[in-house]
Structures are given as structure tokens and as C-alpha cells.
Symmetry: C2
Subunit: 223 residues, 2 copies
């Protein structure tokens, strides 16, 4: 059997050492030595010790940007909730490595902050994409874009975190469900029928009897 | 006129130097010297160079925790959307200092990451508070808590960012409006009547005629 590529060997060595000695106590030289490689090889593959842990954030951000740029979805929110799946799929594809990174990240504040900052970059990209798409310069539209982006990212992270903690056997189905919940929070405004001839039903829960309620509902709708 | 207290003088000196030389190029000794104080005095007031910039995050988090713990609001979401105002009011109260910090934070990646990480801590506190309040261990409830916390924080940051950029003349009214938008995304479920004798109306928009629709609605409700 052939050896895994240098990049993978360095990552494996780094994670093993971070587990054994702690992140702060491990140097780049330690990692290179454990992988049976030189310091120069290390820096050919990773910019820094931290970069071994999060090598793919920039690439993922680019992937998402491309996906959004070529999206054929009907609304910005659907486009974004589709694009964010790329992140989940990437982690699921990494498998055990992603879970070891999660354990490590939870223990080292500097790594956790770095991880959180990268999530903020996705959220910002989504917010700008949605705001551009809406093309509405009002403050209300800008707030709506902000809420949509935050909700997509929160729903995604919820499912990702469950998967990382081995609480979610089927994260792909789960992320679909979660995105449906997000879409339901923000009904598409473009798909409203014209007022004439349509029906508007107001949703509420009440202790009233249905028969007593209907005339009132009708009056409301016909106003 | 008496001199401002040492804490304020150190902060003023630090911001002046960060502006002049850049954050990375400024040392703690530089700051102490500019303020006409010693290194020991600096460390009596701030743990690190970074702490001069964000001295109040931990205290604010505690304030918010206290406010939530003693909240008498009807729902977790209202309690959280009230508590987050403390952050906005704190920044508005700081005035120009908050705006200078914002300019600096936007330019120095390490500071921006730190700021983002502290926002994530508020969001986590809110998520846990809402989840505890709901007392519902299902995955759906946990996702809902996540979405609520993300929305409150996004709406708050939206208004705060506008104020920091001098785009919002009245941030207090604006944050009230933004929180109303957030509350509208998540209609309160706590106000449900008991199932027996109650009515459930499903909300949707349709081109159908109301009279044709009512029997179907009724069937749905009576099921």
C-alpha cells in the first residue's frame, strides 16, 4: 500500500499531537517530524499551524460564491439555503477528521474564535447576495436580508453541530428539513396572487367556536 | 479641570496610537508612556493590549445574564429581545469611543475576529436561555431556539452597525422596530388554548373562492 500524500500525513500528525500535547504545546517542527517530513514541506502545504486545522475555509467560501453566482433558483433565500449545503457536505465528506477538529476546536479558544469568524464570513456573503438580489435599498429590506442570512447559517450550524456530535444519523435530510423551516419563516413575497379574486386567510389560534368565527373571518377577508 | 481617570487616559492613548501607528506596531509600553503612566498601572486596568479595545464584553454578558434571570416577560423571545438592548445602549452611551473602535476593528482582522467571537457568545447565551425556557427536548424545538437567537442577534447588529456608521439617528426606536420584525417571524406558541373546544385556522394565500374553501378548512380543523 502506498503512503498517504504529504498533506494528509501532516494533518494526521498535527491532530495526533494536538490530542497528545495540546495545541499550544505543539510546534510546526513537531508536526513535520511526526509526519516524517521537513519543515519546508510543511510550509509548502500549510501557511501556519492553525491552517492545518482549517485548510478549506477559503476554498469553501469560493465554492459557495461560485454556486451563488450561477444559481438558477427562484428566490435569493432558496439560492442561499441551497449553497450552504456545500459546507455541510464538505464536513460529512471529511468524516472522522471533521469530528476530531470539532473536539479540538471546542477545547482551544483561539481555534473556536477562528472557526466562528469564518462562519461570519459565510453569513456576510449570504447577506450581501440576498440584499443585491432584492435590489431594494430601504432599511427594512436590508434588515430582512440580515435576518434571512442569519437564519440560514443558524439552521445549517444546528444540523452540522448535531452531526459532529454524532446526534444526527442523516444530516442531509435534516438540513433539508431545517431549510424548509427557514423558508417558512420568510414567505416569498413575489408569489402573492393579485388581491382581486384571491382569498386571504388570517392564521390564529383561538378558543372560539368555528361556526361563530367564520362570519368574522369572512368579513375580515372581504374588507 | 481634573485629569480623566487612568483607565480613560490609557484607552484614549491606545486609540490615538493605534490610529497613528497601527494596532500591531503599538506596544503596551507605548500606550502607558503616551498616557503618562507606568506599565504596572496599565496592567492594573487592562489584562492585555487587546483588552483596551473590548474592556466591557464580559461585563455586558453578565449584565445580560442577570437581566434574563430576572425577566418577567411573557415569552423567552421577548425576554431576549429586551435583554439585547443593553448592548446597543452601552455602545450608544460610549458614543464616539464606540465609533472609533468600530473603525479600528474593521481594519484589524484579529480584532474583528475577537469582536465576532464575543457576539457569538451572546447568541449562545440567548439560544440556551430560549431552549431552557421552552423545556422541549425535541430537535425541532432546539432548531427553533437557534433560529430565534440568531434573528435577535442579527437584528440587533443590523441596528448597531447602522448607528456606528452614523446612518441611524435614532437607534433606540430602530431597535424596537427591528425586534418587532423578529417577533413577527415567530408567532408565540405559548398562547395556545387547549385543544378541546379550540379552533385551528391554517394560514395561506390562494386564488380559490372563499365559499369553496370553507368546507375544506372546516374539515381540516375538525380532523
Amino acid at each position: 500500500m502506498s503512503k498517504p500524500p504529504a498533506r494528509t500525513r501532516l494533518a494526521e500528525a498535527a491532530f495526533a499531537l494536538f490530542d497528545e500535547r495540546g495545541y499550544e504545546q505543539t510546534t510546526v517542527d513537531d508536526i513535520a517530524e511526526r509526519a516524517g517530513l521537513g519543515r519546508t514541506t510543511f510550509f509548502r502545504h500549510y501557511r501556519s499551524k492553525e491552517a492545518v486545522i482549517f485548510p478549506d475555509h477559503d476554498r469553501l467560501l469560493e465554492l459557495i460564491r461560485d454556486r451563488l453566482a450561477t444559481s438558477s433558483h427562484g428566490t435569493a433565500l432558496v439560492a442561499v439555503s441551497d449553497a450552504v449545503r456545500l459546507v455541510l457536505l464538505h464536513y460529512v465528506d471529511e468524516g472522522d477528521l471533521a469530528r476530531r477538529r470539532y473536539v479540538l476546536t471546542s477545547k482551544v479558544p483561539a481555534l473556536r474564535d477562528r472557526e466562528i469568524a469564518s462562519v461570519a464570513r459565510y453569513q456576510r456573503l449570504f447577506r450581501e447576495f440576498i440584499a443585491d438580489w432584492m435590489g431594494d435599498p430601504t432599511e427594512a429590506a436590508s434588515l430582512r436580508a440580515e435576518l434571512m442570512a442569519a437564519s440560514v447559517v443558524a439552521a445549517h450550524n444546528h444540523v452540522l453541530r448535531r452531526w459532529l456530535r454524532e446526534e444526527s444519523p442523516d444530516p442531509v435530510t435534516e438540513v433539508d428539513d431545517a431549510m424548509r423551516d427557514v423558508l417558512a419563516l420568510f414567505p416569498a413575497r413575489g408569489s402573492r396572487p393579485e388581491r382581486e379574486g384571491g382569498t386571504t386567510v388570517v392564521a390564529f389560534r383561538t378558543g372560539q367556536n368555528l361556526d361563530a368565527l367564520l362570519p368574522q373571518l369572512r368579513r375580515l377577508v372581504e374588507d
